[in-house]
């Protein structure tokens, strides 16, 4: 039976395996005939949405990994607005509202409230948390 998954990622892209594991899991979901409702980044996981992410060429690019999955599977990837803003990850809309000089959220990522996660988890068959 095809299932719908909601994915929660809370691990930092710098100090945990959470993003790498979650990306492999999402890819495997689709290979198995399942689908993913959306991915929600919370806590330090939101750092992955920073458009100014610029790792060395020989290092894993986790942001690019999420962008590729979003494009390949028409996958929605959400970052929590409150934890993102306090970490300096700011959308154009939020930057304008707050009078900030610039914004830096990668266009493939959505800035969303916790309500988006509640909706995702309540409309999915399984919830998986990568921390």
């Amino acid at each position: 039976m095809a299932l719908k998954y909601a994915i929660l990622v809370t691990g930092s892209p710098y100090t945990s395996q959470a993003h790498s594991s979650a990306q492999r899991f999402v890819d495997a979901c689709y290979r198995q005939g399942h689908s993913v409702h959306s991915v929600f980044f919370y806590g330090d996981a939101v750092y992955v949405a920073n458009e100014l992410w610029n790792p060395a060429n020989d290092e894993q690019n986790l942001q690019q990994g999420w962008s590729s999955l979003a494009s390949q599977y028409d996958l929605t990837i959400n970052a929590c607005v409150s934890v993102a803003n306090k970490r300096g990850i700011v959308s154009q809309e939020d930057a304008e509202l707050a009078g900030l000089p610039d914004h830096n959220v990668n266009a493939d990522f959505h800035i969303a409230g916790l309500g988006e996660w509640v909706e995702a988890s309540s409309h999915s068959d399984r919830v998986i948390h990568f921390s």
Partner: protein, 94 residues
């Protein structure tokens, strides 16, 4: 109702006992990421005989010589395993 408990980091004996005490008879424990190191812990390994281990994560950590382990070979098998349980719970022990 059944739950797949997931551990992705080294935990203490006390934390493992808390986790195991919360498991019902239909539940299982899966070790991923740095949680794989637990099966090489001489104190905790005897309490993890029923645990499943994500082999692809264990192998990159040099853990491959434990034949008695219930291996989950890769992420395809990881996904298939989550489909067998009605829910999952990742223990973070913050």
């Amino acid at each position: 109702m059944s739950c797949l408990h997931i551990v992705n980091r080294p935990i203490s004996e006390e934390q493992l006992e808390t986790l195991v005490a919360s498991m019902s008879s239909n539940d299982s424990l899966l070790l991923i990421e740095d949680g794989c190191y637990l099966i090489k812990n001489n104190v905790l390994a005897p309490k993890l005989k029923a645990a499943k281990v994500l082999k692809i994560d264990a192998t990159v950590r040099g853990i491959s010589d434990t034949s008695s382990i219930d291996w989950v070979p890769d992420y395809d098998a990881f996904v298939a395993l989550t489909a067998e349980f009605t829910k999952t719970l990742t223990w973070t022990f913050h």
